[in-house]
Amino acid sequence: MNTVITQHPSLYKIVVTHYLLAAISFLAIAPMLAFAVADLDGHYFQPHLLSITHIAALGWGTVIIFGACYQLVPVILDTELFSYKMAWLSIVTFYTGLLDFIYSFWIFEPGLHLQCGSLLLLTGISLFVANVFITSKKIKKPDVYQDFILTSCIWLLVTAILGVLMVFNFRYAFLPQDHLLFLKLHAHAGLAGWFLLLIIGVSAKLLPMFLVSTGQKVAWLKWCFPLLNVALLLFFIDTYFFGLNRFTYFIASLAFGGIVCWLIYVYQCFATRLRKKLDVAMSHTLISILLLILAIAVLPFIIFYQLKADVLAVRLTVLYGSILLLGWITSLILGQTFKTLPFIVWTKRYQHIAGTKTTLLPAQLYNTALLNIQFIAFLLFVVSFSFGLFLQLKWLIFIGVVCLAIVAVSYFINVLITLLKKSET
């Protein structure tokens, strides 16, 4: 008999802890944004926006991805996670550091607290990366999906190290180049290196399973992987020495080519799916992909206006970052949470009786009406917030923030419903 994937007994608690912490972080974003609406028409390098960016990228995006990775490592790497204790140590140091970090940024006290917070974050990230890499030593059959996951972990580490250097640079000013230049490198290592590569690797594996697709070609992923990584490396080298310049267009087009390869793969998954009806969770995924395309469409304009030293570049950069963090990544999480969390809950609660009597199915563990409200509120948020940012209309931004609060509350309640739904046994 061949091995099949089973749920490790320690998995439930660690994954659920990550999902809950991420949901709490997400709840905090809307009130923080409400306090910072006045800052959104200024430069992005200011305390409140840095604080919000980091709670979105780390507390929300990265925490939930850590949790999902622990759940999906057996699927993607085809082997058991190396250490659950290490996973606990990672999240404890990471989240403690994050709280310290976010608070220090919010009040802008770039001293000991911010430094300790950043070092704790780096420790948590290093533990996560070490756990994944030690696990990967047991890989029986290497494939391109694993390449994406492992490389994304390296980029995450690069992002964190750059972040720590920048934190210490606030006090000791030792970096040889402008702080904003390092911010560009830090942001792109995080967004394109960590989030994008990881999302591509995981989605390439999961989409065909959820959609029961039959005609996707892995060759597209094999083109996507080098294109994105070469683009990132070139961006690092070129931007470090020369800043943004005309060559940046070429680098952006390489990255664009890589993303197009992935989009073709995703299209093939959707086009050849056996399961025709898309549920709300998968619709969120589809919206997420569209938002990524929208963000990429903004990128050449940022380069163009930056080269002209036009102030519009700053506004577009805020829009670009918002669409990526609160649009692309958030939409993906909002949907995929209700694809992955119900399974881990179902496996714990119903697996022992499944097959003997009728049980609830994973899709029946969450509230569908609430998920619909979440979806509609999210669409309203994206439209009002993006237009509000672009047109500098504070009332429209505020409507967007209210919609985001509705999304976060619906999401949090639905996560609790999924976790607390009474077993019918």
Binding site: Q7, Q71, P208, H352, A354
Partner: protein, 110 residues
């Protein structure tokens, strides 16, 4: 879809097992494993008091693989308590959508 020779001495018993297994659902697709074409063979070993199920999964990395296999074992133990379940997961022949029954296709909206 799996079928049995009517001349098989265990024909009626195997049909009972088949009916029981058709209550086991793929938790993600919400279609039973018989209509999905996941079950390849059912063997009854009366001397060993065991029921052997040869089955596959829609993907070798199916996150719900363990849960589905466990459900099959639960099902056999529950409906046929005198028999020990033995589930063999095989990857040859690989599962394909042609193995889904008409009813399964209807449920998937194909």
């Amino acid at each position: 879809m799996i079928s049995f020779e009517i001349t098989d001495e265990n024909f009626a018993f195997k049909m009972e097992i088949l009916n029981a297994l058709s209550t086991v659902l793929d938790p993600e697709l919400q279609v039973n494993i018989i209509d999905l074409g996941l079950v390849y063979d059912i063997a009854v070993l009366k001397s060993e008091q065991s029921i052997q199920i040869s089955m596959t999964l829609s993907s070798p990395h199916c996150p719900m693989g363990g849960a589905i296999v466990n459900s099959v074992e639960n099902c056999i133990s529950h409906y046929f308590p005198l028999y020990k379940p033995q589930v063999n997961v095989v990857w040859e022949p690989a599962w394909s959508f042609e193995q889904i029954t008409e009813e399964g296709k209807k449920q998937l909206g194909m």
